[in-house]
Assembly symmetry: C2
């Protein structure tokens, strides 16, 4: 159907980079685009839609859904953007409610960073990397070396960097949990490397099953894949599951046996409702201490971000990764690679510093910080539980209790007629279901196929970030009508 | 020499991604790293160095070198970071000197953006893209479609995106000017595609010579390379040259004949001392108007950034690219690709809006804006001329008059003994010269080999951003001593 003009263009869908074309990223895919069209139509006054608001439950974007930023963080950032404010400290304090620790932190950051409008060192401002290392020491009880910390533009950029280094050719394989956040599969696709999927165990609320991991690895190796790394998302996305200590130990032991680099995506480390977050770094150091020499050669990269947790500052694109056990010569190549993009956004780097070093008890901003932090945490848990309770009522829906992160990932059983209708539209049944949900309710979720799921199972992922419960009612009503319509 | 521990690591210099390893990025290379070590030693009180400050003339990083940010921009950003300030407008106005247009702009941006801590749409905030389109219409006198504007994390990210789409396999070739900003060669190396170099003409102050371009293209095609795109950096980096209208027309005609996508890197469009900046977009639209139908199929991507010009906000990582004539299906793939990294930093997107839509005559912030803008522009020109005058005195140094951008790229003729000493160290003569300069003066510049240069010629690139002229004197003195030492 290409017009003459189209066909004579130099670039067309058939000749561009096939690996980009093959990449899938459903979180921002067709459903998300359609939801934005609905939002624009509503903003223009459309009255022909069966809903009056669009709820973007497709992406963990807290501040789009009315989560308020932490006051301390933003007060500091306002001074970093306009250091001239420091000439009027009395005004800041007396008229604008800035506390002295806000001013002190801003002064310290400006001294260390210079202007936030200047490029920093490629791997980030040294003082901020030192602050991250101190945070890791407090968190884990083991030393951290600031020179092994790399500040990044969110965790996405960290994953991009690490996979670029690890993937040597199309034969390189990386073990990725399924379901997973599709950054991993999309990046491996763009790099033309092999995603080696291993299924999480839905029956144990999305636990990591070592036998499954081993089988996936063995199968890939038997096919000649050079399996080099294993990705663990803990707490899980989209599953919310927090790994217990025994699982973390087992993964580290497996990585040792198979000589795998561990990529620990720990961006949801503060979003934990059940159990306790244990970092891979802490567990590795513990095991190295218990059995000297045995785990010395483990290479671990662990990631964190300002986008999630109670910080929720996705738009600032801040994050870091810590490297443990990497060859210095490889680290030099990582430094060069990140240099090509110059540096992570400097104001986002400053937000990383604030995240890892928030006000302490007794400091002037502490009480407000604590109150805001706790209110966000409790609000997320309440909404998660309310949503879970709704799913419990819904016919053919099964969903484990909320454990953490920002998501629920319910399993849905759809009638055969619905599956036939989906096939007639060229969609998977879960895509079909989510599209009908969006059209009927304005609620945008992501089909399980966007994260991967065991064949024969269907799911969707929804965040529990949107305020109120009215939108949950919309889903319940839609679901009932959908089931009634397609009932066998 | 690898220790046992090293050799048993999974990743080593010989098995990581060979294309990353092959990439070169001298702007942040060995010299830059060494200069930072010197800076740290001086900060710790070292007195054994023959200089007391380090001058980072290796990278266009204005605010690291004391260029002050534009007040209007930063005042708006301070409110975007802390919208709570809007509850105290009277304090902002009466005590902090904020003008009403600062407050109005911040209110408008907050209305359009929501929180700067939320992810925006993958290709940027629609209202900001519309503002960019209006700027382009004013600049060029031709319509611009906001849906063809993509906000990016600086121009570097834009180049990364475009090359990812264009490069289908290792046979894809992209014409890149030599000397060039090494982002292009480094990115093509990482993508394992072909850089097809074309030399700029030093004898016409780094003009673009169409015959050279044609020859380079023909040669690559004869070797079986699928040449798909041509990069033009205008005004040039590292050369500063501004292309005249006739050259731009010739490049567009060449692109038509050879069916090449044009990548116009126009980040220095306001750093022009001699001649006039003419955008590729404007010229293309003009040619389409003059000869209807002939140039309809040209695909053009043009890039701009908040990092350069009088804005100089590199650390905020803001930029955009405009696509002209691209296939909608290809644009969808570009949208998907940028989605994988979610979005450009939102505060940087807001800075793009401020850059393209600064205060207008008659508005409250205009006079200060104008004064700051002009002072930066004039300061850059003065320092460029002072540096050029110094180069004129130096033995064996030739440098065209400063035309624009932020750089001078003098040619140096070094004695044979210096070249021998360089070879003995395993360095190119220009690397050797720049290393000795850094050691003797604390001034960090980049050898010409980092940008590419015609065989048999030697250069270095220096910014003219550093304040004062004392550091220029250091270079002059060093050069004389170097020449005396190695004189044949």
């Amino acid at each position: 159907m290409a017009s003459e003009a189209t066909s004579s263009r130099r670039l067309n869908i058939d000749n561009i980079n096939p690996h980009v074309r093959a990449a899938k990223y459903a979180v921002r895919g067709e459903l998300a685009v359609k939801s934005e069209e609905y939002r624009a139509r509503l903003a223009q006054g459309a009255t022909d839609l069966p809903f009056d608001t669009v709820i973007s439950a497709n992406i963990g974007n807290p501040q789009q859904l009315d989560q308020k930023p932490i006051t301390f963080f933003r007060q500091v950032l306002s001074i970093l953007e306009n250091p001239g404010l420091l000439e009027k400290k009395d005004v800041l304090i007396e008229h604008l409610g800035y506390k002295t620790d806000v001013i002190e932190r801003a002064e310290w950051l400006l001294k260390e960073v210079g202007s936030v409008g200047a490029y920093s060192a490629s791997n980030g401002v040294p003082a901020i990397r030192k602050s991250v290392a101190e945070f890791l020491e407090r968190r884990d009880g083991f030393p951290a070396n600031w020179q092994d910390i790399y500040l990044s533009a969110g965790a996405s950029s960290a994953v991009n960097t690490l996979l670029h280094i690890i993937c040597a050719d199309k034969n390189t394989g990386v073990l990725v949990p399924i379901p997973q956040y599709p950054l991993y599969t999309a990046s491996l696709s763009v790099l033309d490397a092999q995603c080696v999927p291993y299924y999480l165990n839905e029956s144990t609320n999305w636990g990591t099953d070592l036998n499954v991991l081993k089988e996936a690895c063995e199968k890939a190796k038997a096919e000649g894949v050079d399996v080099r790394a294993v990705v663990i998302i803990n707490p899980g996305n989209p599953t919310g599951a927090s790994l217990p200590e025994s699982d973390i130990r087992a993964v580290i032991e497996f990585a040792r046996q198979e000589r795998l680099v561990i990529i620990a995506d720990e961006v949801y480390q503060t979003n934990v409702f059940i159990g306790e977050f244990i970092s891979f770094k802490k567990m590795l150091r513990q095991m190295q201490k218990e059995q000297p020499g045995v785990y010395d050669n483990i290479e671990l990269a662990s990631l964190h971000s300002v986008s999630k947790g109670m910080v929720g500052e996705c738009g600032h694109r801040g994050g870091y990764f810590e490297l443990v056990g990497f060859d210095p010569a490889v680290q030099q190549e990582i430094y060069k690679f990140v240099s090509i993009m110059l540096c992570a956004p400097v104001i986002g780097q400053c937000l990383v510093e604030l995240m890892v070093n928030p006000p302490k008890p007794g400091e002037p901003s502490y009480d407000l910080y604590r109150a805001e932090y706790d209110a966000i945490f409790n609000g997320l848990r309440e909404r998660a539980n309310a949503l879970h309770a709704a799913f419990e009522q819904m016919e053919g829906v099964e969903c484990g209790v909320p454990q953490g992160s920002m998501y629920l990932f319910p399993r849905i059983k759809l009638p055969a007629k619905a599956c036939e209708a989906a096939a007639a539209e060229g969609r998977t049944p879960d895509e079909f279901y989510c599209m009908r949900m969006l059209e009927a309710t304005g609620v945008c979720v992501v089909p399980g196929s966007g994260f991967g799921q065991e064949p024969g199972t269907l799911h969707f992922r929804t965040t529990f970030l949107a305020p109120g419960t009215e939108w949950v009612g919309r889903i319940v009503k839609f679901h009932q009508e959908f089931m009634d319509k397609y009932r066998d």
